[in-house]
Symmetry: C3
Subunit: 344 residues, 3 copies
Amino acid sequence: MSKTNPGRFFEDYRIGDVIRHAVPRTVAEGERALYHALYPARHALYSSDEFAADCGLDGSPLDDLIAFHVVFGKTVPDISLNAVANLGYAEGRWLKPVWPGDTLRAESEVIGLKENSNGKSGVVYVRTRGLNQMGEAVLEYVRWVMVRKRDETTPAPAPVLPDLAKAVAAADLVIPEGLTFADYDFELAGEPHRWGDYAVGEIIDHVDGVTIEEAEHMLATRLWQNTAKVHFDATFREDGKRLIYGGHVISMARALSFNGLANAQMIVALNGGAHANPCFAGDTVRAWSEVLDKAETSVPGIGALRLRLVAHKGAAGDHKLRDDQGKYHPQVLLDLDLWVLVPV
Amino acid sequence: MSKTNPGRFFEDYRIGDVIRHAVPRTVAEGERALYHALYPARHALYSSDEFAADCGLDGSPLDDLIAFHVVFGKTVPDISLNAVANLGYAEGRWLKPVWPGDTLRAESEVIGLKENSNGKSGVVYVRTRGLNQMGEAVLEYVRWVMVRKRDETTPAPAPVLPDLAKAVAAADLVIPEGLTFADYDFELAGEPHRWGDYAVGEIIDHVDGVTIEEAEHMLATRLWQNTAKVHFDATFREDGKRLIYGGHVISMARALSFNGLANAQMIVALNGGAHANPCFAGDTVRAWSEVLDKAETSVPGIGALRLRLVAHKGAAGDHKLRDDQGKYHPQVLLDLDLWVLVPV
Amino acid sequence: MSKTNPGRFFEDYRIGDVIRHAVPRTVAEGERALYHALYPARHALYSSDEFAADCGLDGSPLDDLIAFHVVFGKTVPDISLNAVANLGYAEGRWLKPVWPGDTLRAESEVIGLKENSNGKSGVVYVRTRGLNQMGEAVLEYVRWVMVRKRDETTPAPAPVLPDLAKAVAAADLVIPEGLTFADYDFELAGEPHRWGDYAVGEIIDHVDGVTIEEAEHMLATRLWQNTAKVHFDATFREDGKRLIYGGHVISMARALSFNGLANAQMIVALNGGAHANPCFAGDTVRAWSEVLDKAETSVPGIGALRLRLVAHKGAAGDHKLRDDQGKYHPQVLLDLDLWVLVPV
């Protein structure tokens, strides 16, 4: 009857279903400029066509997180419109740069289903792929969300839990074709620190903070065509607050991480992540990073760092993430696990 | 003496005058990206070059309302700087798509004049045309506004009231050259509903709401170079509120209408419209549509729907627009009458 | 130890040092669109490719102040991260238009140093150049800032004070190659006033006002990759206010000056300037200009006006800038001294 999209409920997912998400999107220089207006992004490879050309690329690609947000945004009407919670990410890899003028679309395969014991909801696992206009995958990741059931009396499906890697193996990282750091200009990039200068266990406090405004997170979230009500409608939640799209916090933290990780030019994998606590307008977001691992890559001169990227509000609290019960401290907003590329 | 523009008063308009509006404007991919950041716009034809190419176009044109806002903005210094009220629209037609890189300018012909009985103001009717860099008309519409007199003692001109159509005739709708819905991909467009699925009298509640921020409506209004003080200067009105440009509400409502009208891809006519009540920051805007009429077009496979598009704040109030005295209910912000194109 | 940038202290500058600033930036149509969204910019040469072509250019360059802000932003991490105050500008000249697609970088030469008598800080003078991807200078200006010492016991360097011109000589103004106002269309530009219509000593009140929002000044300041904490972090200052980047006020004032100076198409010199008082969100910014001087240029038909451009909040206060002690009145935000090009 109704012509509007009610979203899918837990019963509407079947293992093996491939959902082709709606509304392809051409992204270009306008999106690039807006990204720089919305986040304090300064990584040189995404700021300068000349710098990118000196790194062997045809020009500056769009920020890796633009690709992520656009693809994620496409999935919202099919995956998370009735989601109670966005539970996790795994096995995320960037596979091709996205260039100005590319058109992105997305599709998701249902790879896991498990009803909750309360019979009211269940967890849905999807592997999402972002595709460009040539049909090439530019990005893939697994996400799992808790989704309400339409009808509590529907019998539970046989549980299927996908076997997900704790982290993408360094050997599986995809280095963009042509990328080289042979003539890398550390002065222009903004910091002298090479891959060899980072030690596993090292923590970098990124110093700067940004106080978030309603107008900004809504501009960002709409730009990625993520139109979940909770981000836009101040009358939707009982407390009158608009919940900030978790991806806005991801981009803010990544941009803040320039200060100390200016040479962590490209994100190539999303090993995992949690939106630890909700973020609201008025919060001042800060970030710190921890080096979790280091690896060589298939390309000489390009090293990989596995980083924990944490966004928090208020004090960093000794870089402790969780309390004794394993619960995230309330000041922690984001706990992300990434592989990035750094000149050796 | 003064070098600043005082705007025109009622006495300054003569029937037949053609006013060539200042400041031509090149619009490109930056304006497209900003449109997506400002409004939850998801109609696929304006989101994806690939989708537009599959519909027979050279690429994705700029949103129809970008053309409208830019042209409207140009007219403000000459038409509505001393306007007391924006009274109505009629006979609006989109005549050519606007492509990234096009330069728009505008001109208006005075087609009606009627002094009010109080001798303090009068109504001015203009037919405005938007022209691209080739001098081709891309848009035309009639607008009438109430304008103050400079001097109450000036004798009233002979009243001239233009004979305006209640609605653009379906036969006069201009279908963009090459447009076809023969290979239309409903899945990518986001909804399965065809022209045949809509019935005259049907009402679609578009479900979503967006709470409006000062920063957003000012960004939008400046982007269209509409610099009327009342939108920007919090000290201008006695209540300290900035009045939101009516076009911001039009674009918000149109974008919200995606949810239920995702296949209403192009706006081709503006039959009429009223900014029923002022909109202010903090208002949560919602929208509903009513199918007023249906028509075939000159192109097989492309149908036209005549829609009433209503923006409101608070509850929809049973989709009632007016009280017993014919006055708009206070929650109604916008009452617009459009023709849109939909795949048959 | 720390990998983050602590900024330079007074002791870190040596006369003759050339600092190559980090993070080159490609600017394009997205930045142009954002500029129009952030400021009520209507000068036709920067709005329309067609208008610019009729003025002999290949198309519309990016706004002169985009070049200034991008170059300024690059210098912040090296020059003003530990600055106590931004004291002045001199000898600023625009040397080449910046075109969409250009990549800008910046370098600064230390040309003056003078320790303050308190031994806690000193004044650093730098001449900054903005360079495009061909290595051509597009902009140069002198700026001086007060910078903290790292260690008060460090001996003071021999003072060096550069000999700075009170104003750029008219003969040194650079007229962009090809620029002509021979076919200038005053109607499309928006005002009839020619160079000859302006008299030295004339004051133009630009009438309009814009109330500033947090989201807007932060979007702007990030767009120029100026990431000084004080503009973004509401917890940084004791009063919880974010200080608005002075350049945001410059662009706002310049855009407001359209109303009365619509034909002051290009800024070609920055003779001097002071950010007289801080600007905060909620302030309503207005502007007035005073004609300080007039000059012919090397190109027939192109005249130069030397303008004082003042931004203020609240009333203009009879266009008085300072009190009896020579201190700026509290309503004055900006006192800028520019050369602009106007059709004769």
